[in-house]
């Protein structure tokens, strides 16, 4: 970021949430960069930015879309970059119809399931025959992904099939991605930004000028976002919009460019790389779906053999994982023990699991350093769900609210639950802190950093590594003599880890397994140094292919610690970044099609014509010997098929995707929908909300009406949630620390002086905030940092709420939890909940105590006339004429979607039973 000429921070309060990382923004600014902060609130990030643009939460696609329109209509896009490195020239199927033509829906929408059939979004291919064959292979994979929650494309693009893609290098053909893009964003004008986001035309022009003047050969612009972009019902599309803009401006794969995801936890990146997620296996390999019954089916679902790039070798990555887990029991004859892996048949995310808990379908639950009673959406439902468990294991440093809800939770206070009636057994297991165990964290830029153990854990505290190792030992002992086939995966599991002097499993041995090794041949037993050494014949094993090389030559490279002062700014000898210790991904794009740096100023990697190799400051992210001008036969597939100007080596066509023919569940292009609860009607389309969002219509998860619908005035204000510097997420690592608790002692809201006057709220007095889910009390902070916006002719007041506090008795500081106010509605791509927008009322004074609190919530619900169907319509206007033939691709099995999707009728009936 220090190399950027312009930094746009949007959906993040970087100065307060990533204070130390923010030094690089400050550094860029000191070197002359312009910094712009787009956020509903004025924060410390805004304070040091050149400009702050207050925005209505949830309207980001309109702002970014208008920037795209500005770039396209004023011919400000980076011609050489876009033409060569993106899919701008690729032709899209004649069947594709845009949301602009269908008033808010793309072609292929199925109103029955609320999902899209993807076929009409595909590329056109030249060779009918081969294209058809590839289509079949491709469709098989799509169907699997669809059944599995449709969100497991991992770090690579979805397969697009083979066959030579039809391109029009003049970009004039109306079916080119470029022309489709132009038409799609044409209505995203500065005026619409003003109307929808509440940002003045002059401010938009300042932003547009800043971004475009600081992009090109000599200059780069960088975007930074955090959960202000992800925690929405269309969060993945917010990021897609920024990606399109950055590709058009040529800012990807270059120093000072890119889109920085500012992740919020020490190794949240590592938790997706080596996932504890239902839909993934290590290295972004998908969890097998029920439709992929054979290993071949599974691999075909990840890649086609003829696609370009490194995902084409997915078979080898999968075999290596299976060999790591099941060793000699994984053989070519038994498909590498593929059948040992359980199958998924829908989304089994944390919120679907919550619904299963409420139906008594889950017996046991492990909480490992996580506090859903405070940190997940609809806190009441989270606590109610846990009360249905037979047993709960909470492993934490402190006695968090998720461990004590059965005696001091809000539902005990209201009388809704009685301690003596709760049959859940609870085990509290003390955990080890980061200095009491060795292991690695992967930070937000994929850098894997090793921590050395400093001291032993106190008392009975132990690491997760030790706990799960021991639990595994005991579970395996209990099934050791079983002849039930379901126990074979446990019996055959490789689970022998060497112990340290203290008797704990050696974390470095686990890292070595993740890295992988040669199993046979002259190098048997030696660690692998690159994933390109992985084979699909069982002669190598490796637990997470993208991490291969971290233990090359038996050296723990995550522990490399050459001081930064002794290195250049790439600092490649401080820890290790996946993949291949590469610090900037897709960095071949930092050179022009001929392999020369775009400019001296933005030099990173380049082609050395003398030595016939790619070289530079960073480790080149490209086959080292691939000449810039080479055009190998694309039909051979894999890395060999990458042309000299295909920098996006994980994409099936080697290009950056302006238009996503596969991979997104709610549209190949981003388009604006209003949040689940919005004070205005969607100014862009008749379609109000994301038609593919995931809803849970239940009496205990009601939504407020939107726009001009009756009852909107009962919840007239918007709220948005956020973090403070002095606290960490749900408070488990901060509200028990006296220092931090003293710095931020109590729950509060931020409101504008205008709203304070309107509602008679006294500074530092109490206020009660009521949403359709709950009522909470907060102290009032009246501040100019909150700005009322004029949107759709209305004055929109936004209320800021930090979410760190929870109701309990053990923490140094407690308070009402903001997440109790939120309902559960999910983004269809990644199943993330909307945390960033909601409708509410605010009134002076403390909330009622006990049962009267629920009565207040119900009184509001009655007044607004809420039913479980309020805000739950997939198609806003059911009378409207839908896409003529939405199911045109149905027979192909080419479907995106989830089995948990709301179906009219069905879930409503289920709801009766839930009550």
């Amino acid at each position: 970021m220090a190399n950027a000429d312009c930094i746009v921070i949007q959906g993040s309060n970087m100065a307060e949430c990533h204070p130390v990382g923010f030094q690089w923004v400050t550094e860029a600014k000191a070197r002359g960069a312009r910094v712009i902060h787009v956020d509903p609130r004025f924060t410390r990030t805004s304070a040091v930015a050149d400009k702050h643009l207050p925005i209505r939460a949830g309207s980001d696609i309109v702002l970014l879309g208008a920037l795209i329109n500005h770039v396209l209509s004023n011919d400000l896009w980076f011609h050489d970059y876009v033409l060569h490195y993106t899919n701008a020239a690729t032709l899209i199927s004649e069947d594709f119809e845009d949301a602009e033509d269908l008033d808010g829906l793309f072609s292929g929408y199925d109103p029955e399931t609320g999902t899209y059939h993807l076929k009409s979004w595909g590329y056109q291919t030249e060779d009918e025959g081969e294209g058809h064959q590839a289509d079949e292979q491709r469709n098989k994979g799509d169907e699997e992904r669809a059944k599995a929650g449709g969100q497991q494309y991992g770090s690579g693009g979805a397969p697009v099939g083979a066959g030579k893609l039809v391109r029009d290098e003049t970009l004039q053909h109306p079916r080119t991605v470029f022309q489709i893009l132009k038409r799609h964003f044409a209505r995203y004008t500065p005026e619409m930004v003003q109307e929808t986001c509440g940002i003045a035309v002059a401010d938009f022009e300042y932003l547009a000028r800043s971004v475009t003047e600081n992009s090109g050969r000599d200059r780069t612009t960088c975007f930074a976002y955090a959960v202000g972009w992800t925690q929405h019902t269309l969060g993945a599309q917010f990021i897609r919009t920024a990606s399109i803009l950055q590709l058009l401006l040529g800012n990807m794969g270059r120093p000072g460019g890119g889109i920085m995801a500012l992740r919020g936890h020490a190794t949240i990146q590592g938790s997706t790389d080596i996932p504890t997620l239902f839909n993934l296996l290590p290295g972004y390999l998908p969890m097998p779906s029920v439709t992929a019954q054979t290993f071949d089916d599974y691999v075909d679902g990840i890649r086609t053999t003829t696609q370009k790039g490194y995902w084409a070798d997915a078979r080898a990555y999968s075999v290596n994982l299976l060999k790591s887990w099941w060793g000699d029991a994984a053989t070519a004859e038994n498909d590498w023990a593929y059948d040992y892996i359980p199958r998924i048949n829908g989304a089994h995310g944390t919120y679907q699991t919550l619904m299963a808990m409420l139906k008594d379908q889950v017996d046991g639950y492990f909480l490992l350093g996580q506090n859903p009673a405070v940190g997940s959406a609809n806190g009441r439902l989270q606590r109610m769900g846990m009360s249905h468990l037979k047993w709960l294991v909470v492993r934490d440093l402190n006695m968090i609210e998720s461990a004590t809800w059965w005696k001091d939770g809000p539902e005990i206070a209201s009388g809704e639950l009685k301690t003596e009636d709760i049959d859940t057994e609870v085990f509290f297991m003390p955990a080890a802190t980061h200095v009491e165990k060795s292991g690695s964290f992967t930070q937000t830029q994929r850098l894997v950093q090793w921590r050395h153990q400093a001291v032993a854990p106190p008392g009975e505290a132990q690491s997760e590594l030790e706990f799960f190792y021991e639990l595994g030992q005991r579970i395996r002992a209990r099934v050791a003599d079983s002849d039930d086939p379901r126990d074979r995966p446990l019996q055959d599991l490789t689970w022998d880890y060497p112990l340290t002097e203290d008797g704990e499993p050696d974390a470095e041995a686990v890292l070595a397994e993740i890295n992988g090794q040669f199993l046979t041949g002259p190098r048997a037993g030696e660690p692998l140094s690159s994933y390109t050494q992985m084979t699909d014949d069982g002669s190598t094993a490796g637990g997470c292919w993208i991490y291969t090389g971290i233990y090359a030559d038996g050296v723990n490279r995550a522990a490399m610690r050459v001081p930064g002062q002794q290195q250049d700014e790439i600092a490649s000898q401080w820890a290790w970044a996946w993949p291949a210790n590469r610090r900037i991904l897709y960095n071949r794009a930092s050179a022009d099609p001929q392999g020369r740096p775009w400019s001296e100023r933005k030099k990173l990697v380049w082609w050395d014509p003398e030595k016939k190799t790619w070289t530079g400051k960073d480790n080149p992210d490209f086959p080292l010997d691939r000449e810039p001008g080479s055009t190998p036969d694309p039909q051979q597939g894999g890395p060999a098929a990458l042309a000299g100007d295909d920098p996006f080596i994980m994409q099936a066509d080697g290009k950056g995707w302006l238009f996503a023919p596969k991979g997104m569940m709610d549209g190949p292009l981003p388009t604006h929908y209003e949040p689940q609860e919005s004070p205005v009607d969607n100014p862009v389309y008749a379609q109000q909300q994301n038609p593919a969002r995931i809803m849970f219509p239940r009496e205990d998860n009601l939504s407020a009406p939107s726009g001009d619908a009756p009852g909107t005035d009962v919840y007239p204000f918007m709220f948005t949630t956020y973090r403070l510097t002095e606290h960490h997420t749900a408070g488990g690592m901060s509200r028990w620390l006296p220092y931090l608790s003293e710095l931020q002692p109590e729950m509060f809201c931020e409101i504008s002086p205008e709203l304070a006057e309107l509602k008679g709220l006294e500074p530092y007095g109490w206020a009660t905030i009521v949403s359709p889910r709950s009522a909470i009390e907060v102290k009032v902070l009246v501040t100019d940092r909150m700005t009322p916006l004029t949107v759709g002719g209305k004055t929109i007041h936004q209320i800021g709420l930090p979410y760190h506090w929870g109701a309990g008795t053990d923490a140094v500081v407690t308070g009402d939890g903001a997440n109790d106010l939120l309902g559960i509605t999910l983004d269809p791509n990644v199943q993330i909940q909307n945390f960033k927008t909601g409708s509410c009322d605010i009134r002076p004074g403390r909330r009622p105590q006990g049962a009267a609190r629920d009565e207040l919530v119900r009184e509001y619900q009655r007044r607004a006339g809420l039913t479980i169907m309020t805000g739950m319509e997939r198609i806003t206007d059911p009378e409207r004429e839908l896409n003529e033939d939405p199911l045109r691709a149905r027979d192909s099995g080419d479907v995106a979607g989830r089995s948990t999707a709301y179906r009219p009728g069905q879930d409503a009936t289920e709801q009766e039973a839930d009550k």
């Binding site: 190794t267 046991g364 964290f441 639990l471 993740i514 990644v830």
Partner: protein, 188 residues
Amino acid sequence: MSRFSPLEWPVIRQLRTGDRTGRSSAVQSQHTREITARTATADRVVQSICPYCAVGCGQKVYVKDEKVIQIEGDPDSPISRGRLCPKGSASEQLVNSPGRQTRVLYRAPGASDWQPLERETAIDMIADRFIEARRRGWQDADEQGRPLRRTMGIASLGGATLDNEENYLIKKLFTAAGAVQIENQARI
């Protein structure tokens, strides 16, 4: 108190020590001079990484008598260059907080409070319950007869301060046991 000496006059001290601006050693009191930083007397210093946000700031952990006595920013880190935010600076208290739990506790069905439990017993009890919940929630096949080979009786939700190696073992064990409802803060 030290005996008065003309050499200790502030101006002379300034000249004598080369502290021309009078902002360093020349203006130190004897008391200050006699203080030793606890970091200087530590038995060892261990390199670590901050456990809060994902910036990944370097930490130096100072240990004396097998206790963490201080945690400071690591100036060697090219990411953080020695800096820590309020949370990172408070992380010594994360380790030594008086409210921290160090014993296993158990709440029986219907009970109004915790009771202590031996760790070994607790892990055995959890293993028994794991096997039973796995059995009760087992699904061999879906309604079309396609094999599922999984259990829906067990679920897990982890925070994003679990080490890569820990996540690896968790995913490996749960998957081998047939449990699929494994989730993480990364989805939240």
